[in-house]
């Protein structure tokens, strides 16, 4: 079967009941979506399926033939972060980073759907199914609110950016 992953058509050999998460990580080598609980409970495997945030660990690949998948890999790279990524960086919204891919994609979809400045409770509702064991969430919500207002680019370049620029 076919999937369109980050804009590229990919052929998938896995059986129809295989979770999309395994197809992404094991068959296509895209490890942005993390395998956390694999029970739908933590949110770190979240990707966009036709623009909607979905748990890739719960999605049987056979049910999404031909769909367009967006993973964290498509967002931006260290030298050219997406608005949401830049906001996460500036607000220290990632610590260990394990929850971050799911948070970024859910936040990106939320900002696109609402299309304007977000209130904190809208962000809390939309990210309510995502666990973070490090940050205490406050900085994540700060970052998403800032990104929704286009308030990024205020901080000096990070070590990641400097390293990427030098390489």
């Amino acid at each position: 079967m076919k999937l369109v992953v980050n804009g590229k058509e990919r052929l998938v050999a896995a059986g129809p009941l295989t979770p999309l998460l395994h197809v992404l990580r094991e068959e296509l080598g895209l490890v942005g979506a993390k395998a956390g609980c694999q029970h739908g409970s933590c949110g770190t495997c979240t990707v966009l399926i036709d623009g909607e945030p979905r748990r890739s660990c719960l999605t049987p690949v056979g049910a999404i033939e031909g769909a367009s998948i967006t993973t964290a890999e498509a967002l931006g790279d260290p030298a050219n972060l997406s608005v949401v990524q830049a906001a996460f960086d500036e607000h220290y919204a990632a610590q260990c980073g394990f929850c971050t891919p799911g948070m970024l994609l859910a936040a990106t979809a939320l900002i696109e759907r609402k299309g304007g400045a977000l209130e904190r409770d809208e962000v809390v509702e939309a990210l309510g199914g995502h666990y973070c064991r490090c940050t205490g969430y406050v900085k994540i919500v700060d970052a998403v609110v800032a990104a929704s207002r286009g308030e990024t680019g205020t901080r000096a370049p990070s070590t990641l950016e400097i390293r990427a620029a030098g390489s």
Binding site: P16, P19, S41, C57, L58, T59, A63, A106, G128
Partner: protein, 257 residues
């Protein structure tokens, strides 16, 4: 995983035919419950019937509201009357967008008490063919049935209250749905025991019809259900909290007049 035969019907009729008597058939709606069971080796389907292309996602909003089995909770929440809308607005956004009505009915989900209070009927197919029956009778049944749709009339008013679940449990610690319909106030509760499906509360309804106050009528809920201990809450806690939750729901219903 042993080899599994997967079928993908493209019409409701084909889905019914492939389901047959349902023996050894694993239905996959949204997959939010089934897929992890398969991933973790807790379920080994022989025949998997995937419903995503079955056309069972029709929503007909007329005098009677007809909700196809594969309508997602997110879509249902947008058009349903209370108490069903709040029940369908489950806290987890991604699950709300993927979980279906048919799957929720089968897993002790939040829709059960709301549908009972609304007097909804379930249209299903299986051994003996197609039939339509009150949701309570459907839930009490034990042989496999393929849910085709749920049908209900809009009530005059409704309220859904729930004692918050622990994240990612498929059922609530306690849930209460009340609806005022033409023939009076209807009450149903769920989550009072692990693996128990939601039930109607005839004692509470009789007390209300007899003119009891919300608080007095709510106390009768313990004649209708026997709360149990399970990993989410103790029977003691449930016995204390359930009448309070029922009373609050009835008072809110009263205020909505």
């Amino acid at each position: 995983m042993t080899t599994v035969e997967v079928t993908v019907p493209t019409s409701p009729g084909e889905a019914a035919e492939l389901f047959g008597d349902g023996v050894a058939v694993t239905v996959v709606g949204g997959g939010t419950i089934v897929v992890p069971l398969v991933t973790h080796g807790q379920l080994h389907p022989v025949h998997a019937l995937m419903l995503h292309a079955s056309g069972l996602d029709e929503l007909v909003d007329g005098d009677t509201l007809t909700v196809g089995a594969t309508v997602t909770l997110a879509r249902l929440a947008e058009i349903a009357p209370e108490p069903l809308a709040t029940a369908a607005r489950i806290p987890d956004l991604e699950i709300r967008g993927q979980g279906t009505v048919g799957g929720n009915l089968h897993t002790g989900g939040d829709l059960q008490p709301a549908l009972i209070a609304l007097g909804a009927c379930v249209r299903s197919v299986g051994a003996g063919g197609e039939r339509i029956e009150p949701v309570e009778d459907f839930l009490a049944g034990s042989e496999p049935r393929l849910v085709l749709a749920v049908e209900l009339e809009r009530p005059l008013a409704g309220v859904y209250l729930e004692q918050r679940r622990t994240h990612s449990r498929t059922y609530a610690v306690l849930s209460v749905a009340v609806a005022r319909r033409d023939d009076g106030v209807h009450v149903a509760v769920g989550g009072f025991a692990e693996r128990a499906h939601a039930v109607a509360c005839p004692s509470v309804e009789r007390a209300l019809a007899g003119g009891a106050t919300a608080r007095d009528a709510a106390a009768a809920v313990l004649e209708d259900v026997v709360p149990e201990d399970d990993p989410l809450a103790s029977a003691w806690y449930r016995r204390r909290v359930l009448p309070v939750l029922v009373a609050r729901a009835l008072e809110q219903l009263e205020e909505s007049r």
